[in-house]
Amino acid sequence: MATEEKRQELLGRLKNAVIQYDEDGAKEAANEVIALGMDANDAIFNGLVSGMEEVGRLFEAQEYFVPELLMSADALYAGLDILKPHVRQLDLGVKGSVVIGTVEGDVHDIGKNIVKMMFDVAGFTVYDLGRDVPLDKFVEEQLRTDSDLVCLSAMMTTTMVGMKKVISDLKAKNPNVRIMIGGAPVSSDIADKWGADGYAKDANNALKDAINMVSSLKKMKEEAEAKKRG
């Protein structure tokens, strides 16, 4: 068993490896965590994720930009790949499944990938459709996987209008699905106007919102079932 001191040291190293986008550092610290039999869940959330939260803060403060964010994500994944097989139960309180993709006409998937990473970390089942995804594909995949959440991304003013159609098609097929949209030209105004349930300002915010949406959805389902039984 690792001492509290050693635990703190390793958590600090994992956190800093993410902040300083040091893939090797993240791997080394993660391997030590496993070798010492430390709790992998603890290492992920209080080490790697804590580092990503700081990266999110630096991004918001415009100290970090997308290149830094991408490299931090690589460092996080480097640690996560080692730790994940040792996790007995990943638990942020809520788990769900999500369909995610960048809409047709748009090949810009950097933002989508970062949001996807946050879902991976939180233990969501992620169905990633990639980029330039035909609009009908979102609807098909949601029905096929019975996912709680669909996340749509667009980076161009010329492609974002495709989201509007996906939202109405999804809601028509399955009124209970929750839809989140994000991307440079998107705003909370647009999300409201087009009937999306959430707007992802950034990756941290996307995950928080997603957890809220999925919990409210689960609650709704439970209530409906209780009613049926009652």
Binding site: F65, L70, V161
Partner: protein
């Protein structure tokens, strides 16, 4: 004064009788409203020219952009790959990306000479110039050097390479700059183009830092605009994202006019840029142009001109290209506010 003279006057820092005004690119809007498709026009330079002429009369922008939406062909031709047409969005690359310096060395800028679609856009540009070039500025649009470079190696690779392989980034952006010169050279030399229009969305203020912009985007924009200037051509450069923190760098791009995203603080832009270079902007393309009422458009345009453009050296533009579903009435109002504005 013609629309052409009006906007050229602003590029030179002066004031014509009214505020210059133009959309940026607008290829997707124009092709949709002309009742055609990217694919159809790519095979027919006559019809592409007809579209440009018809839309110039409908939109009444000071600038007419040939090739808008066809920018990715330049990268595809260089990579030797094919292009994908589709219902939504501009045609895009199916080519394999250049991943290393070795791959890059195999690329040849002359490969754009044999691309049929690029040839079609150039011919349509020449035809439009001869039909409406006295009245309007007719330009051909392409990606800026940093964005074109990122298309060649992949955006995510490019972003990381700014830290991991800076020398590769410099090489690929330099290659892209050479490609642009090769593309535009003949059109400038034969007098077709007096303005070159470049969009540099990957050099966005939301994607890369000021320092990265200064190292990887700026020197190549400067190299290109110097080259253009040497041939007597103006340059209109659009950069996406919030660039408020780096406005002070823009005069060093050497562009005749810099077009700013709606996220950029236009008041600050006036403070920093007025008297140094012409700038354009920055009515919100989605909130106002797409979703606003005609009255919202009018108010936003007036406010933008009052804040940034009342002293000249300014072009009223949306903060980016517009969605293809923007109501025509909103565009009409957008143009009308500037056309009616007397200094």
């Amino acid at each position: 004064m013609t629309p052409r003279q009006t906007i050229l006057k602003a590029f030179e820092g002066g004031k014509a009788s009214r505020v210059p005004v133009t959309l940026f690119g607008a290829g997707m809007w124009s092709i949709k409203n002309f009742g055609s498709t990217f694919k159809e026009l790519s095979e027919d330079e006559g019809r592409m020219a007809d579209m440009l002429v018809a839309m110039s009369g409908k939109l009444l922008c000071d600038v007419v952009y040939a090739g808008s939406g066809y920018n990715n062909f330049h990268a595809a031709a260089a990579l030797g790959g094919s292009m994908k047409f589709r219902e939504m969005g501009a045609p895009d690359l199916e080519a394999h990306l250049a991943a290393s310096e070795e791959d890059l060395q195999k690329l040849d800028i002359r490969s754009i000479d044999s691309d049929r679609v690029i040839e079609t856009t150039k011919k349509a540009c020449r035809a439009a110039k001869s039909r409406i070039g006295d009245e309007y500025v007719v330009t051909l649009t392409a990606w800026g050097p940093f964005t074109l470079g990122a298309r060649l190696v992949g955006e995510e690779t490019m972003m990381k390479a700014t830290f991991k392989k800076p020398a590769l980034v410099e090489k690929v952006v330099d290659f892209a700059t050479g490609l642009l010169m090769h593309l535009y050279g003949p059109l400038v030399d034969d007098g077709t183009l007096e303005v070159i229009s470049l969009a540099d969305p990957t050099a966005s203020g939301d994607l890369i830092s000021k320092k990265q912009f200064e190292r990887f985007a700026l020197p190549y924009l400067k190299k290109f605009t110097d080259w253009a200037k040497g041939k007597g051509a103006h340059t209109l450069v659009h950069i996406c994202g919030n660039t408020t923190d780096r406005l002070d760098l823009f005069p060093a791009t050497g562009a005749s006019c810099i077009s700013l995203d709606h996220k950029t603080d236009i008041r600050k832009a006036k403070e920093v840029l007025h008297g140094k270079m012409c700038f354009g902007g920055n009515v919100d393309p989605v909130k106002i142009m797409l979703n606003g009422s005609v009255q919202d458009v009018e108010e936003a345009c007036r406010e933008t001109i009052r804040t940034a453009g009342a002293d000249g050296g300014f072009v009223l533009m949306p903060g980016c290209d517009i969605p293809p579903t923007v109501p025509y009435e909103n565009i009409q109002k957008f143009i009308q506010v500037a056309r009616d504005w007397r200094y």
